[in-house]
């Protein structure tokens, strides 16, 4: 593979990771507040279909994207209402919604199957695009990919550098303590579930109005993305930069599958297509291995200096979820 092909490929991986990034950051924000939105998979499909339908009908991609965000926010608010107000299990409600939204998108999307509609295109940034290599990688993308870069930094800044972000972390970590300090826990949880949902909902139109333009129903190839998004959220340790790394890693593995296909004709194509999924899960296992007791026990047998270093690496990789994730807030 020559250099320019490699550069184009990297640019392609960044673009392919954009929807995953939006979804992962959205879920990260929602989970930081304590609301686990398991409906992600169906939500992405429904917002992909819905936003394409709106864009097709109105001819406006902007309205399409707004529709995607609205669907994401709405589905998340259903999860939030069921768990925060009706005190039902977030897992059960989210799971059912994941299935419902998926089937709904296939059913409602039938009339627009295979139609050609508007889509967003690449917008090279004048000047910057001519920087060798980096210009092609970073500055010849579509608008949403640019936004995805900004989103990583903005989400990190909000969560770790602002006061509302600090309160957000507190609400997901120890809602009672946050309440005692004057936070309106359930209102904030609704708010961040909606915001996180809206951000994640943009993943749908990024597919249907850009990367995989159009709506192709069951063969859209979007089914399953939402589940991997949930696992990347865990891989990312609820931190935006680490989550972004996870999204890029997954997009890279998918690209690798495509590239390796021609050079490995004996391997069935399905194997390489699904390989990124188990690989992601293996990475997840590796990242969280420091939690396991058997690891502690086997480490205890190693010499002291080696053990200390390994333990330090494991501890640094270890990520703990927001302590109150999925738990409703009640005053004792």
């Amino acid at each position: 593979m020559n250099n320019s092909a490699l550069v184009t490929s990297i640019a392609g991986v960044l673009a392919a990771a954009a929807p995953i990034l939006f979804a992962v950051i959205g879920e990260t924000i929602s989970e930081r507040a304590g609301v686990l939105n398991l409906s992600m998979n169906g939500m992405i499909l429904l917002s992909a279909m819905g936003s394409f339908a709106v864009a097709l009908a109105t001819g406006s991609v902007v309205l399409g994207f707004l529709m995607g965000a609205a669907i994401g926010a709405l589905v998340s608010l259903i999860v939030a209402f069921a768990s925060l107000t009706l005190l039902q299990s977030q897992v059960a409600v989210g799971f059912v919604l994941a299935l419902l939204c998926r089937d709904l998108s296939y059913f409602l999307g039938n009339p627009i199957m295979g139609k050609v509609g508007p889509r967003i295109s690449q917008v090279p940034i004048p000047g910057l695009e001519r920087i060798p290599i980096l210009g092609t990688i970073l500055f010849r993308q579509d608008v949403m990919t640019y936004f995805s870069f900004i989103l990583i930094v903005a989400a990190w800044f909000f969560v770790f550098r602002t006061k509302p972000g600090l309160t957000l972390r507190g609400v997901g970590e120890r809602p009672t303590a946050a309440y005692i300090r004057g936070a309106n826990v359930n209102r904030l949880r609704y708010l961040y579930a909606a915001i996180g949902g809206a951000i994640a909902g943009l993943a749908g139109p990024i597919y249907s109005l850009s990367i995989k333009a159009g709506w192709k129903g069951t063969i859209s190839g979007l089914d399953g993305i939402g589940w991997i998004v949930l696992s990347i959220t865990i891989f990312g340790g609820w931190k935006p930069f680490r989550a972004a790394f996870g999204a890029y890693l997954f997009a890279f593995l998918q690209w690798l599958g495509l590239v390796l296909q021609p050079s490995l004709p004996s391997v069935p194509s399905q194997v390489l297509q699904v390989a990124p999924f188990p690989l992601m899960i293996l990475t997840l296992l590796f990242v969280n291995i420091g939690n396991a007791e058997w690891v502690d026990r086997s480490l205890a047998r190693l010499p002291e200096n080696v053990r200390r270093d390994i333990a330090r690496v494991l501890r640094a990789m270890n990520a703990t979820p927001p302590a109150a994730l999925g738990a409703p807030f009640e005053k004792e």
């Binding site: 602002t162 309160t167 970590e173 004057g182």
Partner: protein, 499 residues
């Protein structure tokens, strides 16, 4: 600021937690609020701090009626509460925890906050690094952090709920000095406790609650006997210390090295003999818990060995399950989190711990078993009561009732933390009963009186260092306090009790 509560009533279901309570506290006062567990002290304070809303009654500040519906209202009125379990955020940095909840602005001004934090710290002689994480602090330091935070928010009324449980003696002295200083500057302080000696040492008045009602108040000089009577309605008998009858060695600890996340311990030696009680003293986080959990196989030593029964059974590297099979029991301090199963009833706990045979549950038999244990251990609860509905004292009784019989060795973290005097005496009565039948006990406590009163020998922990076993009969409170604070360690070599 003068605080007035008028006719406060609060019910939880059929329980009247607060029954028409009226109380008035003038500024510059440290008001002690006394009462045994479940007397309604915490409920009353949570009403004042906005955590609960009263069913009826009014709150007046400086004679003006105020509406406090949520903690946010209380903060605005200058009421700050230090909860029994510090309500902070363990995974955050100290400075972030300090800022969380402070109103105004989108971006926190870390620099100013850190400056204010340092200023306040130095005013009260606290030494907490604002850049460390909250979960690396001791309970006492977390309290100090909360107090600083409340002062920074502009609290003029400070409520402290059982602040002396779980902190060491030097930390307690520092806390009392701080409170006295604050009161002299005009702060109104409500000090909730069930510990008479703390209230007597600190407060300018004491008010006693019992079963949700206000019984009465007393000003210094306090008459302990009268206060006890007000708290319990009767005098509680104290059991005399019994003479130790030691038997054979049940656990020998040889040159044990331990390596915790924040602390290392080197070369501990100890022979625990049947029938004796060994107390582990020290500031929270000095290594006692690490050592005790290692004695049960709950954490693994880096060096040295553990043997049970006259060095016959080498137990190093074994799991707790294996220790348990050999007759060792471990009671953690977090009763509800680590020892009991919330959501399951007492009966179900007894079924699980007895390991009844067969696939089906024998309802009738297990109910009878639960009933007999409940009456035997004097647990206030029904067989079908879930464990989380019991008070702390009754949870601890249930834990004792769940322990197998006979046992060789019982390891207990803070056996009476958060319990009232009556439960404390009861729990120790039951533990000593076991000792009389040859069980050895090793326990951790931050209560010096408890250490000296119930132990035969004492190990003091300080920053990972451990004293040789000291004879509890010749050890004074003062000396123990100094050792816990890291003093007099150079004189230890010569006078260690026979190990």
């Amino acid at each position: 600021m003068r605080v007035e509560l008028r006719g406060i009533t609060k019910c939880f279901g059929s329980l009247r937690a607060n029954d028409n309570i009226s109380l008035s506290v003038p500024p510059s006062t440290i008001e002690g609020v006394l009462g045994e567990n479940g007397a309604g002290k915490s409920t009353l304070m949570k009403i004042l701090s906005g955590f609960y809303s009263p069913d009826s009654g009014d709150i007046l500040l400086d004679g003006k009626k105020v509406k406090i519906d949520a903690p946010a209202d209380a903060i605005r009125q200058g009421i700050g509460m230090l909860h029994q379990d510090p309500q902070d955020f363990p995974p955050l940095k100290v400075i972030d925890d300090f800022i969380l909840g402070k109103k105004g602005g989108l971006l926190p001004n870390r620099k100013n906050a850190a400056r204010d934090f340092r200023e306040l710290s130095s005013r009260f002689d606290f030494s907490i690094d604002p850049e460390t994480y909250v979960d690396s602090l001791t309970v006492g330091e977390r309290q100090q952090l909360e107090i600083l935070r409340l002062l920074w928010l502009g609290a003029r009324i400070l409520i402290l709920d059982e602040p002396t449980t779980g902190i060491s003696l030097p930390q307690k002295e520092k806390l009392f000095a701080t409170l006295k200083k604050l009161a002299s500057e005009g702060m109104t302080i409500l000090f909730v406790s069930h510990k008479l000696e703390d209230v007597e040492a600190l407060c300018s008045r004491a008010t006693v609650l019992r079963q949700g009602k206000l019984i009465g108040s007393m000003e210094p000089p306090f008459d302990t006997r009268v206060l006890v009577e007000m708290m319990f309605g009767k005098e509680v008998p104290q059991e005399p210390k019994t003479q130790l009858q030691v038997g054979t060695t049940v656990l020998s600890v040889k040159h044990i090295d331990l390596d915790g996340i924040r602390i290392q311990i080197k070369g501990v030696n100890l022979q625990v003999r049947a029938g004796e009680v060994i107390g582990l003293a020290g500031m929270e986080g000095s290594g006692q818990t690490l050592f005790l959990s290692a004695c049960a196989g709950l954490s693994q030593p880096v060096g040295g060995s553990f043997c049970l029964d006259e060095e016959e059974k080498e137990m190093t590297g074994r799991t707790y399950h294996e220790f348990r099979k050999k007759g060792v029991a471990y009671l953690p301090a977090a009763r509800l989190e680590q020892a009991l199963i919330p959501g399951l009833s007492l009966t179900e706990h007894f079924i699980l711990s007895e390991g009844m045979r067969g696939f089906f549950i024998d309802r009738k038999k297990s109910e009878e078993l639960a009933k007999s244990r409940i009456s035997l251990f004097n647990i206030k609860g029904k067989p079908e009561s879930t464990v989380e509905s019991l008070s702390g004292g009754n949870q601890q009784r249930a834990l004792l009732a769940l322990m197998r019989d006979p046992l060789k060795l019982i390891l207990v973290e803070h056996p009476t933390r958060g319990l009232d005097i009556e439960s404390t005496i009861y729990i120790w009565g039951k533990l000593k009963e076991r000792c009389a039948r040859g069980t050895a006990i090793v326990f951790i406590s931050s209560d010096l009186d408890e250490i000296l009163k119930y132990s035969d020998r004492v190990l003091v922990f300080f920053a990972g260092k451990v004293t040789p076993p000291l004879d509890a009969n010749t050890l004074s409170v003062e000396r123990l306090g100094r050792l816990i604070g890291g003093k007099d360690w150079d004189t230890l070599g010569t006078e260690a009790a026979h190990a």
